[in-house]
Symmetry: D2
Subunit: 284 residues, 4 copies
């Protein structure tokens, strides 16, 4: 049995759901999940479905090609089909903070995270021992304030050599160059240690302390050229009081960052995210 | 334009979604929402959809009749169709606590709750002034420990006279007789002041205090013959500490009770609940 | 028995707690609650205590005078003592939204909120029927964009005539004039319908929708001259998804606004708030 | 500078706080934190304080001895004083689940958890590689259904040899023998994968699924002879829906279990827990 996840978006009009579901049914697929969303402001239709195709006769290539030349053409759809067999290849970028890295690798090791991790990349050598303990290759590409052209080139080569599908910035303390952002659009997941859009930029816990907020948060989002302004995948918050120092907030925030990044990664891996107009649709 | 909400459940099999969506499409309906759930343990398929039918030619009676004799028969469906024009008739049962009543009537008055409230019924006269302030008829049916046959009869008469669709027990401190429960199956919503199934029965805050829990809750559920064991519609919780006395818990709990009951009522009014095997499916 | 709540702040130094507790003990008071906070950045000590004085011989005036000339002078304290007998006088300012007003009056009527409400003031006549239903005087002071000097004068007169202790802006859609802010420093409580400092200003739900956040919030804070920048008393949040329209957010937000404002009022009434450096200390 | 944390409980009476704070002040200590609780039902007073003693002349032994013969005797206190220099020795018991172990060791490695971990003990060999990766001794004591006397003896010997202060059961799937519970009273922390007292015993996720709850939880508690009935240290919850299978709940629950156990451990290490009448006082 093959399980296919289909993501579709197109101009909203009547009859799309009926057409798609009938097409799958005619091709002997059983729809086990369907969810849709209509952005009424922009008149856009979004849909995610999971279908099971039994028997040895199912050919994904042929199915795709027929979908393309019929339904997809009629409704001028943008669409993707993914077979559940495939494990996406995920690169992790880190600097010196280790809590998100430990969390991701723990989930990976216990089989919770269904990805391959070809390598961990860092601008600092500090976390190599963790990569070693989990037996994952570690590449240290040094750079100071800005990433040099040579370093950028080396990064891209590594990513392409390993056919990386998406990148996780696990508290990576370095601006990602635009070349990389363009190459991996909606495929670079960052964790920001604030409840965005509050406290954009560096040192959000300092700002939160100064403003005297009673709740702090964390946000996982896709990286875009504008800093901390990309489509939000997931957010969560926790309470703080006047008694929490900045250091206390940093400590409390670590648990948030881990969870919110892990949830963001999982939603991406499960193909439950779509991006439109710098916002995400997150399917259930 | 007519908006129809359709709730369906039947044995799970391939092709149901395609059949239903095609049927609606052929009848010139535009599906604006669809959600489904498959209970894999029991092999049951559940679906909720909202469709818009434009034009003057749409006849709900004819549409229903055709649905019944075609799709519904093929898949042996249990189904309901509701027109969004209809405002359900809701009776409120209260005793002496007023916080849930204030909350419901405030939401009703501001137009948030799209129901009619033909009357409020109570086994105590205390809350009549609130009913008066909101200009809603108040019926006091006195009984002591148990509700007498005469009182039961009077209750049923009131409910039938006003063609009540569903009943809300807004901290109603009286066991509901089985005749009423049978007559209004999955149509009586109760608020229990604990995170069920913890602390079933009376005085849950006392039990919570005694056990030293760090979180208390509230649960809205459909009433069944077994006390506090009916299908759960909604739950929420709030933190407490060792410093909270039972009275503090009661006070904190009031805010939970109001919100959790209001959400339960809204889900019911919006036809977002289905019940199967003493559990709810809550559509989004 | 008299119960006295004492709030103190002064430069942090060794021995303050011992001095204060010994003083109360020597005056035959029993300390039933004590909490303190040290702002280490600024070297400021904050303390809240509750003490019970039994017997008919206790004289608050004498006690205060001795405290002033001994402990308070030694440590150069700023301090307040409040007898629990006194019910603070609270004025409510509203415009057209009624949900916070219903919530506050429901709590007031059920005895949950231990205040007197001499009057409700509005720049619109719409909510008068609610004030009438709860039998509270309603004053309509009309003004268009800005509040005129005559209207300001009338406001101040009303507040002073009724010896108002603090003001609650229950979704009051009008800038409060600086004269009022200065006169009632840290005594005007506003509810802002966002998780401040995100989405400062008007239409925060629109901004939240546009940014695609996954969580929305509400904030109760003391009003200062800078808009939405005053000391935060309480905040809370709730989840939203891509499927929530702006109207849905407004509806979900109403429940947050009610709760967060009610908690802010309660903390103020219970003398559990202190303000320093535009931040609050919130005692437990 | 020496920092001393003091935990006290005794019969409630007037003057305790004044006596204790004056005693510390006279001994040149600076109180930087004080919190107290009065259990009014049982008339018991609880207090936690942190005091800093500067200078080379401070002698903890002498200070304790004077406290014992003066204040402690007067009020018949049960009390403990802990110097912040000392790192408690924590043993971890595991079986086959690794998520809590990964989480604890990650926190330990990054310096967040201020303990020593002399060894990890298990009734299964499966998690040895993790212990190895973190360079912590791993002891496998095999037993089938029940733990044999020989195995019990071996356990106790290990614990005593390493002068273990407290034990963490990190999803340890084995009943702890009473000899161990008695020996380490309020010093064995367990994580139960439900919102206790709901779903006591094994397979709580199965029970939660069956009951159709909308929220699941986790509870860290001290182990007592009665199963899952010991004093609760910390609880937290997360939302589930009808769409969550038991496996989904297990997966969601893992994140809860990790966080709730970690918080429980931290509160214990920071001496913020006191136990009375099978309930905890958790200081802030």
């Amino acid at each position: 049995m093959t399980k296919i996840t289909t993501l579709i978006h197109c101009k909203d009009t009547s009859g799309i759901i009926a057409s798609v579901t009938s097409f799958i049914h005619k091709n002997h697929g059983n729809i086990v999940y369907i969810d849709q969303h209509v952005d009424r402001q922009n008149g856009i239709f979004f849909m995610r479905s999971e279908s099971e195709f039994s028997g040895d006769n199912f050919e994904l290539v042929k199915f795709k090609s027929e979908f393309k030349s019929s339904i997809a053409q009629i409704y001028k759809m943008k669409w993707h089909m993914h077979s559940d067999d495939y494990r996406p290849k995920m690169a992790i970028f880190v600097s010196k903070y280790d809590h998100c890295l430990y969390d991701i690798l723990g989930r990976y090791n216990s089989g919770e995270l269904k990805v391959d991790i070809p390598f961990i990349l860092s601008n600092h050598p500090d976390l190599k021992p963790i990569a070693d303990a989990f037996k994952i290759p570690f590449h240290h590409i040094a750079y100071t304030k800005e990433i040099s052209e040579a370093a950028q080139k080396k990064q891209l080569e590594l990513l392409e050599e390993h056919q990386i599908d998406f990148i996780v910035l696990a508290r990576y303390m370095q601006i990602v160059p635009n070349t990389l952002i363009e190459r991996y659009q909606n495929k670079i997941i960052n964790i920001h240690h604030s409840f965005l859009p509050a406290f954009v930029g560096a040192k959000p816990y300092h700002s939160a302390y100064k403003r005297g907020v009673k709740i702090i948060g964390a946000t996982s989002h896709y990286v875009t050229e504008e800093l901390d302004a990309g489509p939000i995948i997931e957010q969560d918050v926790t309470r703080v009081t006047h008694a929490h120092s900045i250091e206390d907030m940093v400590a409390k925030g670590r648990d948030l960052e881990k969870i919110v990044l892990a949830r963001g990664i999982k939603l991406h891996v499960d193909r439950k995210t779509m991006v439109y107009n710098n916002k995400t649709i997150i399917f259930s």
